[in-house]
Symmetry: C2
Subunit: 190 residues, 2 copies
Amino acid sequence: MQLLKDRIIKDGIVKEGNILKVDSFLNHQMDVVLFEEIGKELKRRFSDCQVNKILTIEASGIGIACMTAQQFCVPVVFAKKTKTKNIAGDVYTSKVESFTHGKVYDIIVSKDFLKPEDKVLIIDDFLAEGSALLGLAQLVEDAGAQLVGAAIVIEKGFQEGGARVREKGIRLESLAIIKSMDEKNGIIFK
Amino acid sequence: MQLLKDRIIKDGIVKEGNILKVDSFLNHQMDVVLFEEIGKELKRRFSDCQVNKILTIEASGIGIACMTAQQFCVPVVFAKKTKTKNIAGDVYTSKVESFTHGKVYDIIVSKDFLKPEDKVLIIDDFLAEGSALLGLAQLVEDAGAQLVGAAIVIEKGFQEGGARVREKGIRLESLAIIKSMDEKNGIIFK
């Protein structure tokens, strides 16, 4: 998606340790005009899938998921990272390893909001090692729902996530795939 | 906002301990069609304020904030609840007490995304004791930005938050204010 790639080149900052800071438009400050275009692009790519639910994970996936859900006219469900007092009853749960935060945590979704009849599109902002995405896919599988695919804004193509997800037979659409990046040469897309 | 109140009556579940579960449409599963109507209503109420930024807090405020920001054509900034490796440099920070989770945590916003020239509208899903909202207002004040007001989807009118916020001179618009609720008598709005 050229608009997105242009924006990453313009406003993305490459930091040591394979970190790409895009917090001026994607995951701290959020450019909803860009998000609307992302939503339209994802609607175009998954228009044949009868998506009836979008699944994401708190926190930075929520904005893109909502703006995309608007295009599909379907609800969003976001997986929560900790068990709160407000979620009673039965939940689906899986484990996710965060390399950014250096820890393993549980993600949960209430069983009320993932059902066998659901056709689910997973959305997240980043794909690196793929742990969050595979954790979300596990929730969909546990619910007996159909996973129609996964949409990622930025895939770090030099990390293992993309291969791990595709090996599982999951249809993966990444709007920008980074082939390589460093402070000297900048960002090169696939 | 009648559409919202009707939905709360239809799908909200009152639980012991002043808990109102609205996770089927507001803060776990999210009805983006409703969110779009909320956005339009908030645009109408704050149309005179030259809002150029919307500030919320992760996670459940983000969806409503994005759908509202779309109406204003302005970016959203969400305050983060923990310091991550990806936020380097200077941040504004304040403390928030969560009664739901029974703990005090820091919220942070990068100084890059709150500036003295900003006219900020704060958005959150719930107002109970007001701790999160006042924490966000503190960030705006610390940045030297102008706080034009705060918009809340559901205010628990029987708790102290609304009074605390209004006492500070903050313009507060709550789309549904609950006067009382219990399992026997249900939900009564102000």
